[in-house]
């Protein structure tokens, strides 16, 4: 089952009087349960592609189809609702809300995806934090957590709403190798156990090695698409 399809995606940016092409004619499909990595050097278009799949940006031409729905023409509000309900994000810099506890940082994802039952939110949040090994850190603020722990909270936040797709932009880039490996293990475990679909962008060879599918990008085009 296809979770996401990209058809003839072109993305250009204005740069002064010039127009820079970040992505040029991308076609690809991501199926449910995949553990896919976008690999490539800086400026190859990895982050741009993730932003388009995550509906944070819109293509100059082409279509992004998410769970069978063409997202072209959706309003800002509809895109927000789709992101809230179908996409989880994990960022390189963790991007936790500093004024919220670990528990609240995860719970907010459910609040934004319109889970109104408070008890249901509490139960799901607790389960998500326990799944990433943070059962004893519910009340900690982000500044009271290590980088690895913060990224685990971010993973729990991305997965708590059981999204169709989890997008992770260089999730291990700000972690040491040990923490990076642990984070990757957690995501692989969640991918295997819950069937969550992951898409990464990374420079990290360790992440590339663990991927089931590696899509290599160079100058805005796909140069290789390998499944292991």
């Amino acid at each position: 089952m296809k979770v996401c399809s990209l058809e003839n995606i072109v993305k250009t940016y204005p740069l002064g009087d010039l127009e820079v092409t970040a992505l040029n004619g991308i076609n690809l499909s991501i199926s449910k349960g995949e553990f896919t990595v976008f690999a490539g050097p800086s400026g190859s278009g990895k982050s741009t592609l993730l932003n388009l799949i995550g509906l944070l940006d819109s293509p100059s031409s082409g279509s992004v189809i998410l769970n069978g729905q063409n997202t072209k023409g959706l309003s800002e509000r509809q895109l927000g609702v789709t992101r809230a309900q179908q996409i989880g994000f994990i960022f390189q810099s963790f991007n936790l809300i500093p004024v919220l506890s670990a528990f609240e940082n995860v719970e907010i994802a459910l609040q934004l995806s319109n889970v109104t039952n408070k008890q249901e939110r509490k139960d799901k949040t607790a389960a998500a934090l326990e799944a990433v090994g943070l059962a004893d850190f519910f009340d900690r603020r982000p500044r009271q957590l290590s980088g690895g722990q913060q990224q685990r909270v971010a993973i729990a936040r991305a997965l708590v709403k059981e999204p169709a797709l989890v997008i992770a932009d260089e999730p291990t880039a700000n972690l040491d190798s040990e923490n990076g490996r642990q984070i990757l293990d957690i995501m692989q475990h969640l991918n295997a156990e819950k069937g969550a679909t992951f898409i990464f962008s990374t420079h990290d060879p360790m992440v590339v090695q663990q991927a089931k599918r590696v899509i290599r990008l160079q100058d805005g085009v796909i140069t290789a698409d390998e499944t292991f």
Binding site: S47, N51, G54, L56, D57, E76, R77, G80, V81, R83, A84, Q85, I87, F89, F91, Q92, S93, N95, I97, P98, V99, L100, I108, A109, Q111, L112, S113, R157, D169
Partner: protein
Amino acid sequence: MKWSLLFSLAFRNIFRNKKRNFISSVAIIAGVFALIFGEGLVDGIDESVIRGQETVLGGHVLLRPTDYPTDGRNYPLKKTIIPDEELLNFLRSDEVAAWTTRLYFRTRLIKGSDSLRIKTIGYDRKKEASVFTQKDWQIQGQWPEKSQQIAIGHSFASLMELNIGDQVILEARSRPGAINALDYTITGIVNAHNGGVDAFTAWMPLTEVDTFIQTEGARSHIALRLANGRAMAEEVAQSLQHNDWTAATAISEVADLMEINKFRRKAFSFISLILMAIAATGIANTIIMAAYERVAEIGTLRAMGMQQREILFLFIIEGAFLGIFAGLVGSILSSLLNYYLSIYGIDISQQAEAIGEMAIPTSMYTQFSVAQILYAMSFGVLVSLLASIWPATHAVQINPADAVRGD
């Protein structure tokens, strides 16, 4: 709209940069303080002046002969008249709780080689206290009880170095026009806490006045205390338009002083507005700095599905919280000061005495008004809220794709 989430986030966000937010709030605190304290002070001055008129000089309604001067400086005996039966009948009506007559006339007080023109108030010993409660009055010695005795105002006594038991000569033109002079003994020194009677004033019972200047019962003033107090004064004054007597309320008697006070009120409002304008700039600056500092956070919230207008409201609510905080602090500080001064007052005896015979109490009491506090606080919150709108629209325009990378 997820209001509870927005309020919760906004509330926590204002504690993120306490020093900066506090500094931004100072102008609002000052503006609310100036608005509440200024209004309380000006209202207090108005009330003190009216009360000074009511409790010392004229009661709720003051009657004078129709062509008698109202400037408070001239007291022509020729204009005084004897209250007729028609007027006395009205004064016995239910609306009038008490009334008393006075006769003001000019005298020269001579002590040795010193002399000074003063105002002498002839008063009805039996009725005076029923109109003027005199509860705050202080008398050293006693009120005159026998012939050729007087009491004098304390600041005047101080100026002329007069003491109880001193002999003075009073010289005055009688109502028929002759000049009379008699020896008087000072039996009391009165402090009514009002420049209108404490300065350059002597007190003499009307029976003594009638003898001294041959008034034949003519009076210059009739002061009324009303059963329903100040609220009915205007109505009673209107109904009292007698051919020979003209009625004026205490408020109309001090209208000139209150008119001057309007400028004070405007000045305080102007100062508050300037402070609020400064505050609005500070709040707008704080919110826009917060928006730029939290670019990644805004992007994350947008990525998680928070809508643009929810981001907008998040920052506006933060501004409103700053306004509420500042409004509360400003209100509490000014209310405490106003409350304190509404009980203990401000001593302005030196200024009141310097002004002379105007009906200015020697202590001013501020007015403590909950409505005024709520108004000033709401104004502070509104300014803060409005100042947040423009920077909040900037926060909304942040591109989430750039924002999540913290660009």
